[in-house]
């Protein structure tokens, strides 16, 4: 175990030289390179982290956008549904009112037709009833009835009201012609009795024009200047017809709710 100090000195120098050389050619470059790589990795990590945060932010933004779009979609859909519902209601309402209108029109038309038919029928019934009565009276009319008619007419003339008499006199004084119309040919006596009665009333002689009209059913009529004094069954029949028609119209009005209900 000998220490050669000469060698020791050499080895110390060798070692120090080796330290210097390895520092120059090994540790320096390697450490430098590793540090450079670490810096680059750190930069990349930082960039990656930045990008990740950016991506996260973008994802968040997109999520928000998607959410807002979904909300908007829902709002639009709800709006569209509401509008469609309103439109449907309006159309339904319009259709309903149109249908109601058409139905009302149709109902009124039917009602009018029905009314006109019923009116026509009622008129026909009334007229036919009166016609039958007239025919009956014409068939039954004879001299006895004629004389009674003249009697009744004379009584009516006698019982003329003051106003009616004044009107007749006024027309007579204006020179109007007195016309007596009857359904039967009057006798001279009857004409004379009427002339006499009128002369008494007018306090002057009168001239009667006579004519026959079979349409006057069992009746006599005195006419001067538009004024008329008459008695005939036709008047009564007209009254009866009026009453019948009135009654029929009344029953028609009463039957109207039923008709509407039927519609």
């Amino acid at each position: 175990m000998i220490i050669d100090w000469y060698t020791v000195m050499f080895q110390i120098i060798n070692f120090l030289v080796l330290v210097f050389l390895l520092r120059r050619f090994l540790y320096g470059p390697i450490i430098e390179m590793m540090e450079a790589r670490e810096i680059k990795i750190a930069q990349r990590e930082e960039a990656a982290a930045t990008k990740a945060s950016e991506a996260e932010q973008k994802a968040h933004d997109y999520q928000e956008k998607v959410a807002s779009l979904q909300n908007r979609d829902e709002e639009l859909l709800a709006e569209a549904k509401r509008k469609a519902e309103n439109e449907r209601r309006m159309l339904l309402e319009a259709t309903r009112s149109e249908v109601d209108e058409i139905r009302e029109r149709w109902r009124q038309e039917v009602y009018r037709e029905q009314e006109s038919f019923i009116n026509e029928m009622r008129g026909q019934v009334g007229r036919q009833a009166c016609l039958i009565a007239r025919h009956c009276l014409q068939d039954l009319a004879d001299i006895k009835l004629e004389s009674m008619i003249w009697e009744v007419f004379l009584q009516k003339l006698e019982l003329l009201l003051q106003e009616e008499e004044t009107l007749l006199l006024k027309a007579f004084l204006q020179g109007k012609r007195l016309v007596i119309t009857s359904s039967f040919e009057p006798t001279e006596e009857r004409l004379e009795s009427i002339s006499k009665l009128l002369a008494e009333r007018f306090k002057q002689s009168v001239q009667l024009a006579q004519q026959t009209n079979t349409k006057l059913i069992c009746g006599v009529e005195l006419e001067i200047g538009g004024y008329r004094v008459a008695w005939n069954v036709d008047e009564y029949l007209e009254g009866v017809e009026k009453d019948i028609l009135g009654y029929l119209y009344q029953s028609q009005k009463e039957g109207l709710p039923d008709a509407e209900a039927e519609l």
Partner: protein, 229 residues
């Protein structure tokens, strides 16, 4: 049989002679420096790394980590010194698989030289870091009377450092040489393999111990500073 490669003279110019220890050391130095230069001249920090670069990076980062584990968070000032100790001793020992190779670490002169380097490096690093006063103060710890013992401790551990490495490597070489004469076929191979392991372990021990000495000096100063504050 030569016990030490110091006794083998390779070149002789009057008083200046180069023995096998120095010569082999130079060869190792050339191998290390040229190898490092060849690899580090085309280093890259991006893309796929070459296998050589990868190997050196692994090696350097491993040494770096070891220094950090022992010496604290910073390794920069110690890396060239400790790293060179480890690499030089490891390469010198591993090359003993080459037939006819005599490891320079089997010379007590080499190990002494390395131990003296450590012995000098400890105060150099300590003083460089904390100044001479604080460094010198540790020899007076815990009391003034401990100064001689502290100095003896410094010297003895340096001696132990030198002798440990020398003893292990030299003994390995000698045992292999002896076994070659007795059982030349099988046992020398096993002992060579064991010698590789021993060589690497010794390199590691030497480097770590050196770092521990340097670090302990620094930490002692730090403790002293802390107390002073």
């Amino acid at each position: 049989m030569n016990i030490s490669p110091d006794e083998i003279t390779v070149l002789q110019f009057s008083w200046f002679h180069i023995n096998a220890t120095i010569f082999v050391t130079w060869i190792i130095m050339v191998l290390l420096v040229v190898g490092s230069w060849l690899v580090t001249r085309k280093l890259t920090s991006e893309g796929p790394l070459s296998r050589e670069q990868n190997l050196l990076e692994v090696l350097v980062s491993a040494i770096d980590n070891q220094i950090k584990e022992v010496g604290g968070h910073t390794s920069e000032p110690y890396l060239p010194f400790i790293g060179t100790l480890f690499i030089f001793i490891a390469v010198a020992n591993i090359l003993s698989v080459v037939p006819g190779y005599i490891p320079p670490t089997s010379s007590l002169s080499t190990t002494t030289a390395l131990a003296i380097s450590v012995f000098i490096a400890v105060p150099v690093f300590g003083i460089a870091k904390h100044g001479i006063k604080l460094y010198a103060k540790q020899y007076l710890e815990p009391t003034f009377f401990m100064l001689p013992f502290n100095i003896i401790g410094e010297i003895s551990r340096t001696l132990a450092l030198a002798v440990r490495l020398y003893g292990n490597i030299m003994s390995g070489s000698i045992i292999v040489a002896i076994l070659l004469t007795i059982t030349p076929l099988f046992f020398p191979v096993i002992l060579q393999v064991l010698g590789l392991l021993t060589g690497l372990i010794q390199a590691y021990i030497f480097a770590i111990l050196a770092m521990v000495y340097i670090a302990s000096a620094s930490k002692t100063h730090q403790n002293t500073e802390d107390k002073g504050e």
